[in-house]
């Protein structure tokens, strides 16, 4: 232990420190001014994010239960960055909320769980991390305390998560039963691809597919997204999805190498179903949160497409896409939350004629949509291209054709939003939206990310260099 303990577990220790600090603040109840509290918390989150770039090292702790390396640190930094952006975007909403500190305590607890999950070197640890990240999230879904839909979302989240956890645990127990170990470093040698192990693998995959809302395990997504407060919805769609993808990259894809073919075919089937269902349902939504829910399901399909590559190239493209996705999706959610905060409107049709009074936010939303659709010059184009390029390496061009042609379908529904903003007429369009500095700052960062991440190849190169 000693010094190594502190350097290796720095991200987790940092988060725990902040959580305890916030708990003390809550009990002390000394700072009454909401904006002071918010500034303080955001400053802490910024410090936490910045600290992720210094004094990093590789190694394992607790006899292989916990491990970290450059990629894992990078993934944690991505999550910390996304959380910071979400926190900034939620500023105006939280300012009016009486349980501000609790929100952050729960939020950071889930982030802590995700960090443990990514760093885990053992299935037990992975499961613990997963639970720690899920249960506070369910509480967060209920954070619009006076809305019935919010409670409904929380309940659905708890039930479906519990179900997924059961399946996952069942799978893990079978793995233990057939191999006698749960440590990631030892498992590949023991997995021979027997019938029971195949079943175990499928159960584990399903457990994670639930969290990723891979079709046909996506049913909870739209309802939970719709009911939850927008800050939580954006957290669910970006950070919690991202964390699971990171688990796929760092541990799961290396574990089941002996079942490479099964792994690949399961991925292909999931991709086809996920993209199809996500696209078909996204077309029909009017509620913009449900719309973004189905769009995020489709995006997950594309991320899995990149992961079929199975090499560094696939991992790099998936991590890069998630960075871009954070910018684009949070920009979209940011505008939605501004509108919803001020007018209570959450439908695509409410955005008709939006551009008339809101030039800047209109463009922000449009650019976010184009980035999600993968249209240049936005970064989304590069993200999608790299995923598709990575997916093509296996030479499965039918799958590539399917994915590329589905980009046309998704362009249709993203353009619906753009059309509403710029083209559709409306008798009384949304008034000029006022927002605080923090929200503007966060949206500015998102815009910068959407425009610059693509042209500037440094970020992709950085990710590749971390993977080496």
């Amino acid at each position: 232990m000693g010094k190594e303990f502190f350097t290796l577990m720095k991200p987790e220790l940092g988060l725990m420190l902040i959580i305890f600090l916030l708990l003390i603040l809550k009990i002390w109840d000394g700072i009454k001014e909401k904006s002071t509290l918010l500034s303080l918390v955001n400053l802490l989150l910024l410090l936490n994010f910045a600290a992720g770039f210094f004094f990093n090292s590789e190694g394992t702790l607790f006899s292989g239960m916990y491990h970290t390396n450059a990629v894992i640190v990078l993934e944690k930094n991505v999550l910390a960055f996304g959380t910071l952006l979400i926190s900034l975007l939620a500023w105006d909403w939280l300012k009016k909320h009486e349980h501000l500190l609790e929100f952050y305590i729960l939020l950071l607890s889930t982030l802590l769980g995700m960090n443990f999950m990514i760093s885990s070197g053992n299935f037990m640890m992975l499961y613990l991390g997963l639970e720690l990240s899920t249960i506070p999230l369910a509480a967060l879904c209920n954070f619009d305390l006076d809305k019935l839909k919010s409670s409904e979302a929380a309940l659905k989240m708890v039930l479906s998560s519990a179900f997924a956890s059961c399946i996952l645990l069942f799978g893990i127990s079978m793995i233990y039963g057939t191999t006698g170990t749960l440590t990631f470093t030892e498992l590949p040698g023991h997995l021979d691809g027997g019938m029971l192990q195949m079943l175990a693998f499928i159960f584990v995959f399903i457990g994670f597919a639930f969290k990723l809302s891979v079709v046909p395990f996506h049913f909870w997504t739209a309802d939970v997204y719709e009911g939850s407060p927008i800050a939580v919805t954006s957290y669910l769609s970006v950070i919690s999805k991202g964390a699971i993808v990171f688990v796929f990259i760092t541990s799961l894809s290396n574990l089941f190498t002996t079942m490479g073919a099964t792994w690949y075919h399961i991925l292909v089937i999931s991709i086809v179903m996920t993209i199809t269902v996500g696209n078909l349902f996204a077309m029909r939504q009017d509620n913009i949160k449900r719309f973004l829910a189905f769009s995020s399901i489709t995006q997950i399909g594309y991320i899995l497409l990149g992961l079929t590559n199975g090499t560094e190239m696939g991992s790099a493209s998936a991590i890069y896409f998630l960075v871009v996705y954070i910018f684009s999706n949070l920009a979209a959610f940011g505008v939605v939350s501004m509108v919803s905060e001020q007018t209570g409107k959450e439908n695509i049709s409410d955005f008709n004629g939006f551009y008339k009074n809101n030039k800047v936010s209109g463009w922000v939303m449009a650019l976010a949509m184009f980035s999600l659709a993968g249209i240049p010059p936005t970064a989304g184009f590069f993200g999608k291209m790299f995923l598709v390029t990575a997916g093509a390496a296996k030479g499965n061009y039918l799958l590539i054709a399917f994915a590329s042609l589905n980009m046309v379908v998704s362009l249709f529904y993203y353009l619906r939003v753009v059309k509403a903003i710029f083209i559709n007429s409306n008798e009384n369009p949304v008034e000029k939206i006022k927002s605080g500095f923090a929200v503007k700052l966060a949206l500015g960062i998102c815009m910068l990310g959407i425009i610059a991440t693509g042209f500037y190849s440094g970020i992709y190169d950085y990710i590749v260099s971390m993977l080496h």
């Binding site: 790299f386 093509a392 061009y397 042609l405 980009m407 362009l411 710029f422 083209i423």
Partner: protein
């Protein structure tokens, strides 16, 4: 000559437009920006000539190469040959004319000119790219401006048209993407990595079994952009709903992206595939020529007339490409330039008439030559160019295509050539009918007497395009000399591959 300037100038213009405070400054910034582009492309032409005269035999001149995404071997690699210079000149002329024609655009003018400039960034970038990924990037840049230009400033069923155009072109891009990836994974740059570099790929042999699949995919993908039958349906709706300048851009430049891509990417990189499928290219091209011509006969709206005739005229481009003789390919490139200029002029004239009379129905127009002689004459000249009157660019281009096609001695190819030639008669019918009843004859509506003739900006735009049309029509040799040697390179490539 720094080619990156061709991308930077419109980009800077676009950004400056965003910072402008009033309508006047927006207009002038856009106008000056487009003049700079025109000057730059003229200088490029001269510099290119000077290099060639000095004996520079490199395939691509002024090339510039920077590593972009090194992990995937994606480069910002640009360079020009005669064919790209012809396309760049076309773009510069159409952009300048488009800006001038839209002088009176007052609704959201800042956004309008910004998007026009963004569209031209995409076109210039596409024509100078020598890296497939960069090329694809520029091809797709145009999606945002196209959709918004038609959707916001369009007329008629603009929402439907904008959506249809965006989705069909995106479908084309999706096919192009599949083709590009198919090529990418079957190349290597000598160090064990795959490459997107067009010149390097052209020296490698992609297995015939793959070309069988990827050539049609890639060719169809680019074909959608150039309104290849049966994927032409976006063109009539899109062109006729778009505002004047956007129609000029779409028909004048965007459709040429497809033709250029077919030639530079599909044919050049997969020559065996091209040989194998040439019959199909000729077949769809001939259908497009005949069908487009007859479909035009039935149209009553001037914009639809020009849009359907564009389908027919772009068929000549594909016919020339499919015939695979040197003369035919030169003709195809000339037809791209000629059609770009002519259709821009035609749409410009129709736009000017529509601005004044508020109708595009042939039946409601009449006698316009009496009240607006300048616009009427421009309209008639554009029409005559379209039907291939000697002395105008249309004749030079179509004649070259026909001559080149006839050089292909196979019976079916000769038949296709004869059918394509015959379509000119139909063209003459619809052009003369439209010109006769809309600008000549008695004035049908007394309101028309109050209308005024073209303003300075409209005259400037028309003269610009007319000058280019005449320059090609009267002296086609300079264009032939410009694109000839590079067409020969592509032709040699095809010949070697086909063992002809």
């Amino acid at each position: 000559m720094n080619l990156t300037l061709l991308i930077l100038i419109p980009l800077i213009t676009a950004i400056v437009i965003l910072t402008c405070k009033n309508l006047q400054s927006v207009r002038w910034v856009a106008f000056i920006g487009s003049l700079v582009q025109l000057g730059l492309s003229g200088m490029l032409l001269l510099a290119y000539h000077a290099e060639r005269v000095a004996g520079n035999t490199a395939q691509m001149l002024f090339s510039e190469r920077h590593s972009w995404y090194s992990a995937l071997n994606i480069e910002y690699y640009i360079g020009v040959d005669g064919i790209s210079i012809a396309m760049i000149l076309l773009t510069a002329f159409v952009v300048a004319a488009g800006v001038l024609i839209s002088w009176k655009m007052e609704m959201l003018s800042k956004e309008f000119f910004f998007l026009l400039m963004l569209l031209s960034v995409g076109a210039y970038g596409f024509f100078i790219s020598l890296d497939l990924f960069t090329m694809f990037f520029f091809l797709e840049v145009a999606v945002i401006p196209k959709f918004l230009l038609i959707g916001i400033w369009g007329s008629g069923k603009k929402e439907y048209s904008a959506m249809k155009l965006a989705l069909m072109l995106m479908g084309g891009s999706a096919l192009v993407l599949i083709g590009i990836l198919g090529i990418y994974y079957n190349t290597n740059d000598g160090t064990g990595h795959h490459t997107f570099d067009i010149l390097k790929i052209s020296q490698q042999h992609i297995p015939m079994s793959l070309q069988m699949y990827f050539f049609p995919v890639l060719f169809t993908g680019f074909g959608v952009f150039t309104a290849m039958f049966p994927f032409h349906t976006w063109a009539p709706d899109g062109h006729s709903s778009a505002p004047t300048a956007a129609s000029m851009f779409l028909a004048g430049i965007s459709m040429k992206l497809g033709g250029y891509g077919c030639l530079r990417v599909a044919m050049y990189l997969m020559p065996e595939g091209a040989h194998h499928y040439s019959w199909a290219i000729i077949l769809v091209a001939t259908i497009a020529i005949i069908y487009g011509a007859f479909a035009t006969l039935m149209q009553k709206d001037l914009k639809y007339i020009n849009a359907y005739s564009s389908v027919s005229h772009c068929g000549f481009v594909l016919l020339g490409i499919g015939m695979m003789t040197h003369t035919a390919i030169v003709g195809a490139v000339m037809q791209m330039v000629s059609h770009g200029l002519m259709t821009a002029l035609f749409f410009g004239a129709i736009g000017m008439m529509y601005d004044r009379t508020h109708t595009r129905q042939v039946a409601q127009l009449g006698g316009l030559l009496k009240v607006m002689p300048f616009i009427g004459v421009v309209f008639v000249i554009a029409g005559l160019c379209s039907l291939g009157l000697p002395g105008l660019s249309g004749f030079a281009a179509e004649m070259t295509v026909f001559m080149g096609s006839w050089q292909n001695p196979e019976m079916w190819h000769r038949l296709a050539t004869i059918l394509a030639c015959a379509s000119i008669v139909v063209t003459a019918v619809y052009i003369l009918r439209a010109a006769g009843s809309s600008v000549m004859g008695p004035i049908k509506n007394e309101e028309f007497r109050k209308l005024t003739d073209a303003k300075w900006n409209e005259k400037f735009a028309s003269v610009l395009l007319l000058a280019a049309i005449l320059a090609i029509g009267m002296a086609p040799f300079w264009l032939i000399n410009l694109v000839g040697p590079d067409s020969q390179i592509i032709m040699d490539h095809l010949t070697n591959a086909g063992g002809l």
